[in-house]
């Protein structure tokens, strides 16, 4: 048979028609859909033996006890530890998501050395030996040139063995520049130091307070130890009152018994006006004022002359009658407590304000009393021998700190990280030749991101010890990744704001997943490599040995229970509580201290931009894991766009959901507008904790980092950052 064109086409067309009429296409379609849908894309989690490990969460300074459920060697879920003195079974949204950090894509899996330009994200994997040798070589070179003081270290904390080892290393190496991340702890420590003459943290007996006067503190939004504060709030619902003084209806304000809107930045004046009423009506604790305080008469004259409710009403926008009733109910309660530190307390604030608020506590005599403010000494279990410095180290340590803390201008302040970028950029002090960053993400968390990045670029050698690829790690030269908190031992001294000293112990819940190393061990290895006096200061073989030895007889209790509490601890007795020159509580009288001026010209920038905090947005050195970012409402983040709150009255034609450009003297960003009746007209509120550029694709490039829009404002007394807002405007996009 001859195959011609015609018969060929007939065969093809006939064949196609025949197949189409047969059940075959249908069958194939059916099969393929069954095949594609029944394909086991969904994982089947492996079952196994269930066990539980107790530990401490260190994702924030809250120090909650956690119980981790495991199946075989996999950690399945983090839950709150029952019976723990801080959180007793409760847990926050970030703590619950901890496993996403452990197993997540944002981990740094091995030591990395930068190959591309800074921040470009091109890395070379190196071994731990190489990494440590690299650091030692660089630091050794600086030391030889007598430039040991040009090494600085930014640390998330200065307490606990790891931070102490780091500080010890810096000292014996010869640099005075150990810098702690700023927070309201700085302001509270300084307040206690100036008014009570003690070097201690402020603890708040919130569980026993029956009237809480909060000057803008986000009591249930992450202030202090978050879970503990939320628990206390539930107690206050049953017996107690909360008054929230704040210009925006925060969650704390909405939950409070009374919300007192106030012109932002005038909190100190309000506190002193309340003091005025308390003194004028003789509602103060006469015993405390007469026998245990000094400087009261001058203070009294000052507030009576300058802070009458009528005058202050004009400044604060709070009516004189409200001021009087606040003063009466505060002084009339049996256990009143006044607190301050805005939002989650990550910006220190004006010292004047802290002292004014603390004065209220003194007037009602609730210092070191049930339901009041307690002086909490650090647990004194770290008793290492004094370091012996060699000549170079002693020389380095004799140099002034680069951040100006402890200088003539700011003699009482211990750390001033917010001043560091400017110190580096202006070049007035000595240059910083090397920078260590541990347990912190300063590139993200310090205000004025532009200046911070510029400063980082001026430092020739930046070493990050981060477990995660955060903004600081991205902008470093060398990453020496620490184990994450679920893989390592670490002591966790008293959580922030707790009124009694306790120690928690973080324990490895799972074996380290990657080629990471405990920061404590890294410090010991570096010290060994240096030899001489530096090695001598670290006589331990490993961090674990050091920790066990340091904790001594508390170790067994810590391993079994997860925490150690000093059962003998009692608050100080007034007679011996104060270590000021007068041995009494001092009403520090600074007169009419000027209030903190925010940046920007009112004419060019008619609005005031303020940040707000939320439990659902981690704004510290840990970024939101996927679960947490999922809980963020669409009135905060929509797609990749951040939503700002404005009162409909000051929206100036911007409708709900409109795009706009938000500008401040520091920068401009694109935002969406949300009308919110809970915010004072004239203000714009922007959530903190968004706008990450690093981490993973679940968090990066969403919204705006508040720190890009604001710069620090130096408090005249302490030098700490006291900026509570910045002038701003909204224009059409």
């Amino acid at each position: 048979m001859k195959v011609c064109r015609r018969s060929f086409l007939s065969l093809i067309i006939g064949g196609a028609a025949g197949t189409a009429l047969s059940p075959l296409p249908l069958k194939l379609m059916d099969d393929s859909s069954i095949w594609s849908q029944a394909w086991p894309w969904t994982p089947v989690p492996e079952d196994g033996e269930v066990s539980h490990v107790g530990s401490i969460c260190t994702l924030c300074p809250g120090g909650c006890g956690i119980t981790v459920r495991k199946v075989n060697d996999r950690a399945i879920k983090i839950e709150g530890m029952k019976g723990h003195p801080v959180n007793n079974g409760g847990i926050c949204v970030l703590g619950l998501s901890g496993l996403q950090l452990l197993y997540g894509p944002t981990r740094v899996k091995t030591p990395l050395k930068r190959v591309g330009a800074r921040g470009e994200g091109r890395w070379e994997k190196i071994s731990w030996d190489e990494a440590i040798a690299e650091v030692v070589k660089k630091l050794g070179g600086l030391r030889e040139k007598g430039k040991s003081h040009t090494v600085a270290c930014i640390s998330g904390t200065d307490r606990g063995t790891v931070a102490q080892l780091l500080g010890r290393f810096l000292t014996v190496y010869g640099s005075p520049n150990f810098i702690r991340i700023p927070s309201i702890q700085d302001s509270y420590e300084l307040t206690m130091h100036l008014m009570q003459g003690v070097q201690a943290s402020a603890g708040f007996d919130v569980e026993n307070a029956d009237f809480v006067l909060s000057f803008g503190s986000g009591l249930i939004e992450g202030w202090g130890s978050p879970v503990r504060m939320i628990k206390a709030n539930s107690k206050w619902k049953e017996r107690g009152k909360v008054v929230q003084i704040e210009s925006r209806l925060s969650n704390t304000a909405a939950k409070a018994d009374k919300w007192v809107p106030i012109n932002p930045g005038t909190e100190a004046a309000l506190a002193l006006a309340i003091a005025n009423v308390i003194i004028q009506k003789s509602l103060y604790n006469a015993d405390f004022v007469k026998n245990y305080s000094s400087g009261f008469e001058e203070f009294k004259q000052m507030v009576l002359n300058e802070f009458s409710p009528d005058d202050v009403s004009g400044i604060t926008g709070v009516s004189a009658s409200t001021i009087e009733s606040l003063a009466k109910s505060f002084a009339g309660s049996s256990k009143p407590l006044a607190v301050c530190g805005r939002g989650q307390g990550e910006t220190p604030g004006s010292l004047n304000e802290f002292m004014a608020v603390h004065t209220l506590n003194a007037l009602v005599g609730n210092i070191d009393k049930k339901g009041g403010v307690w002086t909490v000494p650090d647990p004194d279990y770290i008793k290492w021998p004094e370091v012996e410095m060699d000549r170079i180290a002693a020389n380095g340590m004799s140099k002034a700190r680069i951040d100006g803390a402890g200088s003539k201008r700011y003699p009482d302040t211990r750390y001033l990280l917010d001043r560091l970028p400017n110190a580096i950029n202006s070049g007035k002090e000595y240059p910083v030749e090397a920078l260590f960053v541990a347990g912190a993400n300063p590139v993200y968390t310090i205000p004025d991101s532009k200046a911070v990045k510029e400063a980082f670029n001026k430092v020739p050698f930046v070493v990050s010890f981060s477990s995660y690829m955060d903004e600081t790690a991205v902008n470093s030269d060398l990453i020496l990744p620490n184990h994450v908190f679920l893989e390592r031992y670490e002591d966790v001294p008293t959580p922030v704001g707790l009124q009694k000293p306790i120690i928690g112990l973080s324990k490895p819940v799972v074996k380290p997943l990657f080629n990471t190393k405990h920061l404590g061990d890294v410090i010991l290895l570096m010290a060994k490599a240096f030899g001489g006096q530096i090695a001598k200061a670290f006589p331990w073989d490993s961090y674990e040995v050091c920790l066990k030895e340091t904790l001594g007889n508390k170790w067994d209790k810590l391993i079994n229970d997860g925490f150690w509490a000093d059962s003998n601890f009692r608050p100080a007795v007034w007679g011996g509580a104060f270590h000021t020159p007068s041995r009494k509580f001092e009403f520090v009288n600074k007169g009419k201290a000027e209030s903190i001026k925010i940046e920007g010209d009112e004419k060019a920038y008619p609005l005031i931009l303020m940040p707000y905090d939320s439990m659902r947005l981690a704004s510290g050195f840990i970024g939101d894991p996927p679960f947490v970012i999922k809980t963020v409402e669409d009135t905060v983040l929509k797609g990749k766009e951040i939503v700002v709150e404005v009162n409909p009255k000051s929206a100036r034609g911007f409708r709900e959901g409109d795009q706009a450009i938000l500008s401040t003297p520091k920068g401009s960003v694109k935002v969406r507008v949300h009308h919110f009746n809970g915010i004072m007209p004239g203000l714009v509120a922007l959530p903190r904790g968004l706008g990450h550029t690093a981490y993973d694709e679940y968090l990066a490039d969403k919204g705006v980092n508040f720190n890009e829009l604001i710069g620090p404002v130096e408090d005249p007394v302490s030098g700490l950052n006291a900026a509570w807002g910045i002038r701003a405007k909204l224009t059409r996009a």
Binding site: K77, G90, L96, P105, N251, T631, E633
Partner: protein, 271 residues
Amino acid sequence: MKEQHKNTKAKKYGMVIDLDKCTGCGACMAACMAENNVPFKKDESNKLDSITWMRVYSLTNGKKFPEADMCYIPRPCMHCEAHNGHAPCVSVCPAVATDYNHETGIVSQIYTRCFGCRYCMAACPYHARYFNWWDPVWPDGMEKYLSPNVSPRMRGVVEKCSFCFHRYQLAMNKAYVEGRRELEEDEYQTSCTQACPAGAIIFGDLNNPGHAVNQIAKPDPKHGGRPMNPHAFRLLERLGTNPKVYYLSSREWVRRAGDNYIKDEGKQGNH
């Protein structure tokens, strides 16, 4: 439907959520996601396709500054009993993929039976049900934390809060091994209840006068479980869904908002 056990009393597991204590912190949402292998996507800001078995909504009183007020309201599945178990979703499901369990009062969801018609989603007045538009994807390595007690769901099925039913099963297994037929109140608690830092969520058997939920909500069996506590209310009470989640609030506007689905509804004279 399953036959009732003759030797055990029927339970009616339910919840009381104290809105005065709820701080809107979101711990219940994350606790639920972590317990129940709930997946996540790169963008979760479109709340219509964001799977949250437990979701915290915020309410405002609609007043101007400074009279404005705000309240958070966590919303799990209400596990409606309606009349004799005819919950809105149960009565429309053509596949019996969702059913009312008379033994526990829990409305189930059987993923392998569900074929994704989404009638139940249309029927549910609480938006408590979510559809899997995509197969879940966990980033490399994160599958390690998935719990073997709850099966991850596949594309094309509906899912919702189960009152952590697997915890009930585990607790019952343990009780049976120990020769018991009844659970203590604290033996079976949902993940959100356990996590809530405010202690705002209380869970237990509404039929058991010894359980806190019964004591607080005081459900009135003669009136379809309506709460006798004047501060307690249920969402959309008048629909007759007879939900097993009760809310407490001392603020009147919050209690009213709980049953005001369409603004100004009554005023226009329509029902």
